[in-house]
Symmetry: C3
Subunit: 241 residues, 3 copies
């Protein structure tokens, strides 16, 4: 069976993917859910994208993980792309789950609509500690639109302030994703409206992968909370050979 490494999105940590990991492991795989540097409780929120990527490179080395299916959610797409550029030999397949796909020199902000960039900068400047948080109404209507209010509130309470530099920093890549010599998949949750409709995840970002496998699944951007079992199945359909 396979080895899955699940890399979370902005405001999340590895803990929020543990239920998904448990569903994947139930089939006989082995899953890992690291937390990216900058999202751990005691981390400084002043870190940037390069450090965040390096923390997952280090995690793979420390645990000597080989032949892995490397999965990235949302902001996690920045991370897995950077990791793949640095240690492709550890990776069997890349899986982007409603995730950003950067080319060399692009920042996450470059792929956001201007109104989100403005909103996040405004919130960060008010907070003044290098971090940004998400307003609850946006979370409830646009991120976790497929859950009931109790799940939405409970999930919101697990989120952590996100280091805004990781959204501003341009990624440095030797090879763009479409040229990386590794199979790639894109998991698209069909009710994900966290990005507005003229800035969709798929196909706007997915097609930057070149040849890739599409897996679609009903659900919002936060299917890890609203239906972790269904998400686990989609990730396994995306991650198999």
């Amino acid at each position: 069976m396979g080895t899955y490494v699940l890399v979370h999105g902005a405001w999340h940590s590895g803990r929020e993917l543990e239920q998904v990991a448990r569903s994947i492991d139930a089939v006989g795989h082995k899953s890992f859910t690291p937390t990216i540097k900058g999202n751990r409780p005691t981390d400084s929120r002043d870190i940037g994208l390069a450090e965040a990527i390096q923390s997952i490179v280090d995690y793979l080395a420390l645990n000597d993980l080989m032949d892995i299916v490397l999965v990235g959610h949302s902001y996690g797409g920045m991370i897995i792309t950077g990791v793949a550029d640095r240690c492709l030999d550890r990776i069997r397949r890349l899986v982007y789950w409603n995730a950003f796909v950067p080319n060399d020199g692009e920042s996450l902000n470059d792929m956001l609509p201007p109104q989100y960039v403005e909103l996040f900068e405004k919130i960060a400047s008010e907070r003044g500690d290098g971090s940004v948080v998400l307003p609850f109404p946006v979370w409830r209507e646009a991120f976790i639109n497929d859950a009931d209010i109790e799940t939405a509130q409970c999930a919101f309470s697990t989120l952590n302030p996100h280091p805004i530099n990781t959204l501003r920093d341009r990624i440095s890549l030797n090879v763009n994703p479409s040229e990386m010599q590794v199979p790639k998949s894109y998991v698209n949750c069909t009710e994900d409206i966290s990005l507005p409709h003229h800035y969709p995840w798929h196909p706007r970002l997915s097609q930057k992968l070149g040849l890739f496998r599409l897996v679609q699944v009903p659900g919002s951007h936060e299917l890890c909370f609203s239906n972790p079992t269904r998400l686990a199945q989609a990730i396994m359909d995306a991650g198999r050979d």
Copy 2:
């Protein structure tokens, strides 16, 4: 539990939504299915959009309905937008179900492709009583494409001639939907081809709501006939807090 008011589309009446209402009430909610002025058996077909809207404003007042989830289907989107502009204090959430979303000064015809406007005007001028009807082949292939022929025919027989002025009249609003201080949802039936593909319901019309919750469900424009239970669930997913 909540109070749902279901506002039908053109050619329909409240009766065609009774099965949906029964499924919503089975969970413990209380549903209402008024018929808009102009679609009741003895109504003149010469009425316009303002009168149609006023009839639902009056209905809410007469029944003293407060804290309601106000749902509009298709043409019903014109109605609930006008109602919300006049008595927002009665409304907990607006739910558009494959519905038109007008800004101030827009008519339903402004959101239709030219070929439909032409077809409807031609039919109305032939009928000469202020009403328009839908040709059966268009109904069968493009409106109720997910049902068998018996359901399609039976549903067609319940339709009533629709007052064409309500499609021509421009709505008068103090506030556009995106600025209305109330939560909004959009239910999108994924096989709805009643509008052609370059004039889709979602995201062309849904995005006029500003921040909104998307709920998608398999089905045609007439899911109230082909699967009222599934539609009721989608409306409740859209209508909850």
Copy 3:
């Protein structure tokens, strides 16, 4: 009950649709799965589109099939359009399943993205026998993305080299599909990425049918292998009156 004639796509033969046919027949219909000239084991690969179409016209005459639901998959859309132009009196409804829809004078290549035309011409010129084959990685990721690797490999082994002239030849039609006096349906598999995202099957090609019924079903371009029962149901939903 009805009569279904299922016309396969490029690289396929009628045999690959037999499981679908069996599911349709289980309901009480009668299905036929002819193999187009040029895809049979002993056929020359030098034949062109007109001969390919004629072979299905002849098949219908030989078997005296009347009142049929004529279904075409992918390249099979070229064939059923040509057949309908020649013997519309035999046809009750046309069903395009992720299929090409040509107007008079168009070739299949005219509806392909340039990179596919180039790839296929390159492969054909290397083979030198008038045929083209599909590289396995493209098949696995973009054609049969919803199956496991065993199904993908097994299905790949059943494919046959396809006569490239049938992709190059322009079809000659007296009447374009949108003007054909017969009901039409389009079955769209929602995870079909065999055509890239800016050259989609639906609505780019489906809308060339004029008024048509849309049926959508989860699955890849090769749902005949990954879930023949589900495909059969979609074809029957598309094929009924």
